[in-house]
Each structure stands twice: as C-alpha cells, then as structure tokens.
C-alpha cells in the first residue's frame, strides 16, 4: 500500500513538472502558430505580443494556394515514405550482421560504417552529384538513394544496440528447428525490436521530410521538388512573406506529427518484455 501511494504521488509531481516544462517548450511553437495567423504587417512587431490583435487566414490561403504547394507536399511524402521503408530494411539487415553474425574484420568494418556519421554531409554534395550524374539518378531516385545512404550509419548503429539486447535463448529455439539467418532475422529479431525500429522510422522520416541541401541540387525537374525547397521559395532576395512561410511550415509539420503519433505507441512499456510468455 505504501508503495502505491508513493507511486501515485510521484505521478502527480511528474505531471506538474511536465506541465511547467511544457510552457518553455511550447512558447516558440505557440509563437509560430499565432504568427501564421497574423497579417504580414504584424509579423515582426516589436515589442512582440503573445496574442495576435488581428487574425487572418490569408497566409494559409496564399501559401497552400500556390499552385505547386500540393505537389511539393506529395513529392516530399513519396520520397520520405520510400526512403524510410528502404532505410529500415537495409539498416536492419546490416545491424543484424553486426549484432549476431561473426566473421573476421567485423568490428573494423563497423567502424568504417560509422564514418558515415562523422563526415559533414555538405562536404559530399558535389561528389555525390557527380556520382548521381554518372548513374543518371536524379529527382526522386537520386533523393532516395542518397537519403538512405546518409542515414545508414546512424540507424545501423542504433539497431545494432537494439538487436544485441534481444535475448539469445529465443534464437536457440529457432536454430534447433533448423532455421537459418533469414528466419532468425524476420521471425525473432525484427518483431521484438519494435521500439528501436520505431525510432528509426521516426528519425528517417523526419530527415527525409526536411532535407534541403541535396534536394536543392539533385532535383532537376521543378515539378518534383520537395517541400523544403518550396518553402524556401517563399523568400526572395529582398522581401520574404513570413506569414506564408510560417503557415506552410506548420502545415509541413503535420505528416511528421502523424508519423510520430503512429509509431510512438511502441514506446509503451510491456510490449517488448522478454517474449518468453507463450
């Protein structure tokens, strides 16, 4: 009984702390939201007000109404989904090797892959462009292959840690039944690693959705441009329509929020208990 009271008290305190912290966390976001409803004249008024004195929907109408916005949105969606799925597949396969299989030079190879995280991506854009040109991989294909590549190291690293934590007893059972590596991979490791895979999905989706530098140069067909480029185009040299930029950016947040919502439920304690029950 004593423990349960303490536990509930702890939860109440936690909620209070979280709410307080929420204030700090959400102020900039709140600011983005109200600014997107402000007319252009009040975007950067000084001193700043936390509640708009005039509301307008014009920014949303103008931003979303720009003839290409819908297309940029869909382009980004396609690229992000494809990149995410393929990254999960490729990086989990690679992580499986490092977590479970053995061969000479494994660790050295792993460190080599880790290099992929350590090199500033911007340094590679020009040679990557040369490779893309050589293989004629531009627009969507060009984006997807590079996005997968740039995420490989980080996600493989993450998943290796996750896979290593999967108890080996489960595999013994499969091995006795005559299962090979692929069976172990698909039937045992993957299902148990829900939270890790969820993180990979969220991270990769976010990366692909927001990436700008490569998309800026690799997309040759302006109809295939992605959302970050579209939003950047709201800015011209002297005049930037900030209200529209904010409105468009908020709309751009939505798919990532959805992805997060869908996959964050895998963070619930209890789903990935040892799995030995039944």
């Amino acid at each position: 009984m004593n423990w349960r009271i303490k536990n509930n008290l702890g939860k109440v305190v936690s909620v209070i702390i979280l709410v307080l912290g929420l204030g700090i966390v959400l102020i900039p976001i709140w600011y983005m939201i109200i600014t997107s409803f402000k007319p252009q004249t009040m975007i950067f008024e000084l001193p700043p007000h936390l509640w708009p004195r005039t509301w307008t929907l014009n920014n949303y109408i103008a931003a979303l109404g720009k003839d290409k916005f819908g297309r940029y949105f869909l382009n980004s969606a396609f690229v992000a989904v494809a990149s995410t799925l393929l990254t999960v597949l490729v990086s989990s396969m690679m992580a499986f090797v490092f977590a479970r299989l053995q061969f000479r030079g494994k660790e050295s190879l792993f460190y080599l892959f880790l290099l992929g995280m350590m090199v500033p991506p911007v340094m590679l854009i020009i040679p990557q462009f040369l490779v893309a040109k050589w293989l004629n991989l531009f627009n969507f294909a060009g984006l997807i292959v590079v996005y997968i590549t740039m995420n490989l190291s980080m996600q493989t690293f993450l998943l290796r840690g996750v896979f290593e934590n999967v108890p080996r007893d489960l595999e013994e059972a499969a091995l006795i039944d005559g299962g090979g590596s692929w069976t172990i991979f698909t039937r045992i490791i993957l299902p148990i690693s829900g939270p890790g895979i969820a993180v990979v999905i969220i991270n990769t989706f976010l990366y692909s959705w927001e990436e700008f530098a490569w998309a800026n140069v690799a997309i040759k067909n302006t109809n295939m441009r992605t959302l970050p480029i579209g939003i950047a185009l709201f800015q011209s040299e002297h005049l930037t329509e900030w209200g529209q930029v904010f409105a468009a950016s908020l709309v751009a947040l939505v798919p990532v929020v959805i992805t997060f919502l869908i996959f964050q439920r895998y963070f619930v304690q209890g789903i990935s208990t040892t799995g030995l029950k039944g």
Binding site: W3, G10, K11, V15, L18, L22, V25, L26, P28, I29, L46, P47, P48, V90, M94, V97, L101, Q102, L114, L115, M117, M118, V119, P120, V122, M123, L124, I126, P127, L130, V131, V145, I148, T149, L152, M154, F157, L158, G161, E164, N165, S181, P195, G196, V199, L206, E210, I231, F246, A252, L253, V256, L261, Q264, Y266, F267, Q269, S272, T273, T274
Partner: protein
C-alpha cells in the same frame, strides 16, 4: 573466428550487407575519397585538370588561421554544453514520460514537437526573441525580472551571441534525446524493476542500479550521435551570425567550411576543413565508444 556454430558467418553476412555496402560505397565512400583528394589541391572547379597539387598546405593554412581556431573553440564549447544539458534533461523527461500518467501521449508529442520544427524557422524565431532592442527575452529580463539595467545587444557581442544559439539547440534537442532514452527504457524488462522493488529499492536506487546500467547502450549511442551533431552545427550558426559576425568571431567549423567552399569557391580549403573536422570527430567517437561500450550481461 570461431562462432557458436563453428564456422564463419561470412556468406550470410555478405548477403545481408550487400545492399547497404553498395549504397555506401557509391554514395558515401567514393565521394569521401573524392573530397579527400580535393583537399590536397588548389582546386579549380571549371577545369579540374588544371588544379595544382599543394599537399598539406590547405590543412596547415586552416590550423594556423586564428579564425579557424576561434571556430573550433566556439564549436567545442557549444558541443560540450549542449550535449551535457540535452543528456540530463532528456533523461529526466524520459523518466517522467515513462510512467502511466494521464495525457502521456499528449506530453510525448508536445515535447517532441521542437524536434520536428524547421531549423530555419526556429533560428529566425530565436533571433527575433533575442532582438537587442525590443525582443521578448530582453523585455523579460529588464522590465519583468529587473535583472539587467539596459537591453543586452545579444548578437552584437561575440560571446553572448552563443547564448541564443546554445539555447536553441538545447530546446530543439531535448525531445529527441528523451525519445531515444524512452525507446531504450522499453528493453528493460519490467521484472527487473519489480525484483528491485521487492528487495526494498526506492526510485532513486532503482534508477542507479537498474535503469542506468541497462541504458548504457542507449547512452553510448546518444553521446556519440549528439557530439557528432554538435561538432557539425551549421544552420543556427549561419542564420544567427550571418557567417561569423561580428568580426569573424562567431563561426562554427562548418560555417567556415561553407564560406570557403560556396562563397569563396576555394573547394580545396573547404574540403581540408571538413576533413580536419572529420578526423577530430572520428577520434572523439572512438574514444567515447571504447570508454563506454561494454557488453551488458
């Protein structure tokens, strides 16, 4: 290398590794070697065959440049501060969010929101909030808390400029660290906590003896990734200091690299700076991994 089964897993390994390896070689390793090569030249972009080989001269030039040295200092200080704070706050938030409290999903989404905002937008917002003459922060500090006599010109001071940049990174990154911690906590079997509680451990002891040790892989991952991210900081620095203002004292290593490559069209020098950063990052990461990685029994 003997395995449990008595033979090398090389063949299945190759099969599993192949797609990643191909992509990696084509789009990462190849470009990396290309960039490395460029760093030894005075590179001409239109007629690369006319580039002049200058050996290590780009590297030496960077290392002896006071602007580069300052950039390294800025970037290092920024990394140390932001990573430490993000780890501590991230863990705290994750612990709070790991309980079954009402509105848990709402809190998770709310704390993760900063992570998915666009760097460009929030850099702008923070710049706005820290405006030297009429920003929100100054208003708060001066008119409400009465902590400062006059408005602080944040962006006019080479050191104070780093404050909004650091705060921005922390604000944006805590949620990300928290989510990774949260995912890591899921692999700690509930039975262990139960057992600890039965043995009389309170929350603090549980944290020390159950949670933290089992979170070690997550912690390792986070330290490595966050440090790399910190050393590679570019957008907030670029947008809030416009490339080193004032007086080239507020560069990060990458804003300097960007300026060299895309502003001054000195590709060789830019590549050298990138490689110096890469080497530094590599060594730091290896040290971190060696220090922290141990198999969890």
């Amino acid at each position: 290398m003997k395995t449990r089964r008595g033979y090398s897993d090389l063949i299945p390994a190759v099969f599993f590794l192949l797609p990643g390896l191909v992509l990696f070689l084509l789009f990462f390793f190849g470009p990396m070697v290309y960039s490395l090569r460029i760093s030894f030249f005075n590179w001409k972009i239109v007629h690369p065959d006319q580039s002049v080989f200058i050996g290590l001269r780009n590297y030496l030039r960077a290392l002896s440049d006071p602007i580069f040295q300052r950039a390294v200092m800025n970037t290092s200080a920024y990394t140390v501060i932001t990573v430490t704070v993000k780890l501590v706050l991230g863990l705290a938030v994750a612990l709070l969010l790991n309980q079954t409290i009402p509105g848990r999903t709402f809190f998770r989404v709310a704390y993760y929101l900063p992570v998915i905002t666009s760097w460009v937008i929030v850099s702008l917002l923070f710049e706005y909030m820290f405006n030297g003459q009429a920003g929100l922060i100054n208003y708060f500090l001066k008119n409400i808390l009465h902590l400062i006599p006059k408005n602080v010109l944040w962006f006019a001071d080479p050191i104070l400029t780093l404050v909004p940049i650091v705060l921005l990174d922390i604000w944006k990154g805590v949620g990300w660290a928290a989510i990774i911690f949260l995912a890591g906590m899921q692999s700690i079997p509930v039975e262990l906590h139960e057992a600890a509680r039965v043995d009389g451990a309170n929350s603090g002891a549980q944290l020390r003896f159950v949670t933290l040790p089992l979170l070690r892989p997550t912690l390792v991952y986070l330290v490595v990734v966050l440090v790399i991210g910190g050393l590679n900081a570019y957008i907030p620095f670029q947008l809030m200091t416009n490339g080193g203002d004032p007086l080239d004292l507020t560069h990060s290593v990458l804003t300097l690299m960007y300026e060299a490559t895309f502003s001054r069209i000195d590709f060789g020098y830019g590549a050298a700076i990138s490689y110096l950063l890469t080497i530094f990052v590599f060594f730091i990461s290896v040290i971190e991994l060696r220090l922290m990685r141990r198999r969890v029994t």
